[in-house]
């Protein structure tokens, strides 16, 4: 999207997800910008997705659009849930249920977390929550398919580490783009 909105100013630890790496813009970039934070394995912050609510994500009432909540929840389930169980494949969504618990407003920082309920050979069941601060705005559950064989990798998404380039130790690696 255009840069006609205030900066995202993500909390510490969040890095922009570079979904397209220089290729034409796909939906995840188009609706974003989306960020990701990785935490200690086994904690609730092992995988956190986040974004700042801007005008282009809102409904006419000025609140966060349900379509944006569903988009991010879908992604938290497949990308986050997959990450939690160590799958690097692209997991197509089979079914989702969304409960729109509360609204969010422009300027809010929204976070999404997944909890894996069960993994079978071919399916992944996850619960997903979107929160603003301590309050839940969306509760969702998802069934995703685990493709047989190697499957496709999860697109080209990489975390954008360019913000770390200022650190001389990191500058050698540069960015993935």
């Amino acid at each position: 999207m255009s840069d006609d909105h205030p900066p995202d100013d993500p909390p510490a630890g969040f890095q922009r997800i570079d979904f397209d790496r220089g290729r034409p813009v796909t939906f995840n970039s188009h609706v974003g910008t989306l960020y990701c934070k990785r935490g200690t394995k086994g904690t609730r912050d092992e995988f956190v997705m986040g974004f700042r609510v801007h005008q282009h994500m809102c409904n006419p009432a000025g609140g966060l659009h349900g379509g944006m909540m569903m988009t991010v929840a879908d992604l938290v389930g497949t990308m986050g849930g997959g990450t939690l169980v160590g799958l690097r494949k692209f997991l197509p969504t089979v079914s989702m249920t969304f409960d729109f618990v509360a609204p969010a407003q422009r300027g809010d920082w929204v976070e999404g977390r997944a909890e894996v309920v069960r993994q079978t050979r071919s399916l992944l069941f996850t619960d997903i929550a979107l929160t603003v601060g301590d309050s839940r705005i969306l509760r969702a559950s998802q069934i995703a398919k685990i493709p047989s064989g190697e499957g496709q990798t999860f697109g080209k998404a990489r975390l954008d580490r360019s913000a770390e380039v200022a650190d001389p130790k990191m500058s050698v690696k540069g960015t993935a783009a």
Binding site: N59, F90, G155
Partner: protein, 140 residues
């Protein structure tokens, strides 16, 4: 961008709907049919239409069915979506809702989103009906 006749572009859309449009609508008696033609910006890395985009679009069509059938404004309380087949970029996709039942507070709605060949999404939702006195601009 070409669109089949009888569809009106929803120019009043702002925010998320405008950023992901153009969306179209045709009213046929008691039915409201919404439509859009997904482009590359609606796709995921695998070139099929993003599930979140399809969910958002079906949600809007189901909400439009509530507004049209019951003449009430509403917000989505719960939405269940089954993804049947991938949506293809470039196809003309249509979505519509059917109000199955309602009381003063909640309407139950069945929705379907379909392309030129087959159904893409099946939906079932509970929509909270806003007070008749309030007139907030909620739905797009």
């Amino acid at each position: 961008m070409s669109s089949p006749s009888g569809f009106r572009e929803l120019h009043e859309a702002i925010g998320f709907a405008a950023a992901n449009g153009p969306w179209f609508e045709r009213v046929e008696g008691s039915r409201v049919i919404r439509a859009f033609r997904p482009g590359p910006q609606h796709a995921n890395a695998h070139g099929i239409v993003h599930g979140g985009m399809l969910a958002a679009f079906l949600d809007s069509a189901m909400g439009a069915a509530v507004s049209h059938t019951l003449q009430r404004r509403c917000v989505t309380a719960r939405l269940t979506i089954d993804y049947l087949v991938p949506g293809r970029v470039g196809d003309w996709l249509q979505a519509e809702g059917e109000v199955l039942g309602h009381d003063e507070q909640v309407a139950q709605v069945r929705g379907r989103l379909y392309g030129p060949r087959h159904d893409v999404l099946a939906g079932l939702g509970a929509f909270a009906l806003l007070s008749r006195q309030r007139q907030p601009k909620i739905r797009s």
